[in-house]
Symmetry: D2
């Protein structure tokens, strides 16, 4: 299979370039008779939309999603859902001066080596613009999950580290996440982060981030050993997001340093049901959900578009330097927050359907 | 698709439980006319085989692989390669006293919730025994890569952290890796690691590990954006290994903390060819290989089988404690080293065939 | 995987209903750097377009295809090609009187039973309108094949039987196929067919058809035993077209009645190359192409939309009769001709890429 | 994906050559907790086993299937089921004189062109021996269907035409099918068929056949438009069987010759439920089952192994003749009967799981 589809039963395929006429998505396998309207998707797209604060790219894209098929009289029909977003603010001219060179840390060189051509308009297919369609698909995934789990199952992400600045987990407040430009769950960290990222932005530099995404209310039993373990699919899903270079689940890397006695979650009976003392496993054992919260974290590297000249080479193998003047995000991690929620929702919707098929 | 297959074009499917009569694998999509004998696979299986030092389980398994199909007159035919290893040392009785309870940190509870049944014989399908077949498949993947790249492409892993003990990267010596029980690349760390793991073993405890796996000589252009990026497939592959809870590529988590200027690999021309100053990206940009070394690390949590009693529950929802008396590894990370090599080899063989199909 | 995608490496996914705002298609896996413009696809769509003669539906659809992604500066980039056709002549009101009943022989009842809902607007997803996107995808498949085979590989279909009226194979003239409304290769049959179908049309009845589709210049070696044999994939591809109920390859059903001596194609050497005396196998042996012409035939049942009242039932389980007043084709087989060419082109492009991956 | 797997959720992969040490199969995605024993599979294998009458090959193969994994304490566990049959009567020497030439109508030449090698031992992978594993997988599929439908859903095939000799449908008697060597449902045809096939056999010739396979008690709603229509998957499944060159469903080719009024199944209400007057559609509309019997027919060409010398060529491009002296079936159609049942059972089990996932 080619690489632009995600999921096995809840399966979507995206298309479109940063500076083409439109981007789009087909979602196949959606169960029928689920209420769905464009507004259900737009609410999530609005979270990802650029230009909402001074910390994201100033490109103006309303990102209005249109449902073209698969929904009739307000409900899914079971046939493929076609989604389209027209690109508005394309300004291809911004990119003419990078047409013949490769930006370090960007996908330019790798695409050139793979495909033997160059869509220099803002990264083309490699642009983070593609993630708008992930968010739309995630909205459909949430509707699928809501049909069977209502409000009991939620998927939510927050930025837990901006550049070198970590939150204090003791301050974690989900209610605060939507109240700042960073999706930061620690209100005390926000002013510091603002000062830090303002400085980064003014220098024309960029910063990385670590984001934590959780799913609460997930039923036990999701995941398909031994290669489509829930951990493996979450890792693939998050690692496929632009600029992501690391993923961990539960205690992750830290969990490898402790002794066996401190590495696992003891079990007990609480009100007649199985419960766990801790959640070091991050919600899965043997690649299958246990009913505990799914907890994953991932690292986003700093944007590769910088005002400081960087040494690079041209398509003609000449050395040169590059300064990126286009509109870019000082921290792409910010907009990765709603994308991560969408990807986890898609993984869960897919595994829920897979589980029903075999074990339902 | 169900979950026991890996790969798209170089695709293998494994079957078998820890304590059944045999385990096996079918590898489909292997190019024809490649020299292949059982010895080519056995050399890798011998690296993973238990009982080679006091630091791995004392279960005696010769793990002799038999090629049942797909090879004729010493060469692959292009038809599916069937592999079988007969289980020898099954001792199912060791497991009778854990038949009705769930070991914390083990897959017992999750399988019970998913499938509604219990194969208590040593973990059944969730046992690390399944990884023998990954190693065998990896041997075939190496043969596929060797056909086109000869010795120029190599895949090699090493343990870089045992429990809390890190190697000193300055001491890295590939030649040392095969000379110690840990696949440790830092000869100076080995005596310390031996003392540490001996203590862990004698206490009936266990330790985690971090392993680094590299591929050298990989051509530029492998990876299929935007969901089957090489990073995403490596993450899925490594996270699917038993007890793995974290994966990073290149600078990984650390790379999110630095500034944009320090996060990317400047490019220059050396002897007429594109070269990079550094390898922070770990060999891929935009999810496509660049020709630099692929560098990935992953964390293995400590074995959940412990001599210290652990609090847990029974299938009848009674609280109890468990002590695991079976033969187990004090650090499963040791045997994960050849498994990681195999998984990366399989990812590369698969993406090489995918790349040839579209861009060859 | 859900059911709206076709192909393994050259893989397309269609979306859209007969009476929604648009229909579309994403084609993933297309090799890069192949010349492609909308006109290359439009030429095939124009063959399938309704309303070109009195023998097809009078619905007016210009069927103008727009390429939304995957093509840059006149060439494919290797990224997914998004195609959209806006629906123009939807007239949903035509269908209001069949809203609550099931048309015999139509997909209404089956969709109702499967999905528990009803898109009564002209058949919704089950409408033959979806085949426009197959034709567009087929245009891309032809471009892929043309890159490697130029004009040497051609795919062409013709109607060989209209209702009970067969052509005389001795009169076969490919040049005549485009000169009549039926894609009939026997010029002598055309006047008879016109009279026959005029009568059918005036009675408000409908007729079936048998269509033959051939591929010439196909290299030997395409097909993936044992389940994705070229015969199996052709059968699936043609049987997936609306109203198709039978497929045969080479001598097909007739070949089962002859003796072994008359069933196979003797081989000889002609100018130093292997040649066959006959082509009873229809171009494949063991599910792999031999280099001979691929020859397949398929049967299209008569349209289920009729002016004669037919007995049927309502969604409320009441007996009733139905007369279809919408604009329909007296013989849907006519428009199935370009669709069959497209499907065979897609099968061949897909298998060509698959073959290159494993054996190239 | 490579070609040796069948199914999407109920998915099996076969391996093994005619003259290797064993053949095998992995079935992944089987629901857990279904009773399953080797005897459940053996009963179907015994129907396909060679050497049961003078009309099938005299090769002696007990075809004893061993379940190697996926079943514990008499029930499926949900993990992959590994099946192995050891080859007993291999006699490779029989094939030495055809080592360097291509048998007309056989897969020899096509495999040579595709893979560039030659497993001349009885056809290797192209041998009908592979179908033993289809039958075993079909046994598992039947167990899956029986869990939810009990005896209400049955799959049964019969030979309706032997060479040029057709049954009289008026004599159809399912009870007679198991009482003759041909699986013929018309007891009056049997003596004639015996005389005919005895003559064919004594001449060293061969005969084709047409087989009808039906599924009764299938729920409405199975099939995944628009490419995985139930008709399309049945066509693929049957066309993938060795020597099959045609497939039709319901009225098939004959249905294309009648008028629209005679082509469809009128609907009415019988005892409060929807019923059909006829079953011209063969159980599906729009590619989805309607609850009527599924009725499919397929044509098997005569065996290509003949005692009459046939003109052919060698691998060195010399003209020669070939006489096949190995043990072969005068009519491979006989043994295709249980294979067809198995394939249809697998299609139904797969679509049942797919349907439950999306619409259950």
């Amino acid at each position: 299979m080619p690489g632009n589809s995600f999921g096995t039963l809840f399966r979507y395929t995206t298309w479109g370039e940063s500076h083409g006429p439109a981007i789009g998505c087909v979602i196949d396998g959606v169960p029928p008779n689920i209420p769905l309207a464009e507004a259900d998707l737009q609410q999530w797209l609005d979270k990802r939309r650029p230009g909402q604060s001074r910390f994201t790219t100033q490109r103006k894209e309303p990102d209005l999603v249109q449902i073209q098929s698969g929904v009739f009289e307000g409900h899914t029909t079971g046939t493929p859902i076609g989604l389209v977003i027209e690109n508005q603010d394309q300004r291809s001219k911004d990119y003419s001066d990078i047409k013949d060179l490769f930006r370090p840390g960007h996908a330019d060189y790798a695409y050139w080596k793979k495909y033997g051509n160059r869509d220099y308009r803002g990264g083309g297919r490699a642009s983070a613009r593609e993630t708008a369609m992930r968010v739309a698909a995630g909205g459909v995934a949430r509707a699928v999950l809501a049909r069977d789990f209502g409000d009991a199952l939620t998927v939510k992400a927050a930025m837990v580290k901006l550049g070198p600045l970590r939150i204090d987990p003791a301050n974690w407040d989900w209610a605060a996440v939507d109240d700042n430009a960073f999706w930061c769950p620690d209100p005390k960290a926000v002013p510091l982060w603002e000062r830090f990222l303002d400085a980064v932005r003014k220098e024309g530099s960029s910063a990385g981030a670590v984001i934590e995404v959780r799913a609460m209310g997930v039923p036990a039993g999701l995941g398909e050993p031994v290669y489509d373990k829930i951990d493996a699919d979450i890792a693939r899903a998050l690692m496929s997001i632009n600029a992501v270079k690391a993923v961990e689940i539960g205690d992750g890397f830290a969990g490898a340093a402790v002794s066996g006695e401190d590495a696992h979650d003891a079990m007990r009976i609480v009100e007649g049901e199985v419960a766990f003392d801790t959640n070091r496993a991050g919600g899965s054992l043997g690649g299958i959900t246990t009913g505990q919260d799914i907890v994953a974290r991932f690292a986003v590297k700093p944007t590769s578009s910088l005002l400081t000249p960087q040494r690079t080479v041209t398509v003609d193998k000449q050395e040169t330097t590059v300064v990126t003047k286009g509109r870019h995000d000082p921290c792409v991690g910010i907009r990765a927050v709603p994308v991560a929620e969408a990807m986890l929702a898609c993984v869960l919707a897919d595994h829920w359907l897979r589980h029903k098929a075999q074990c339902g």
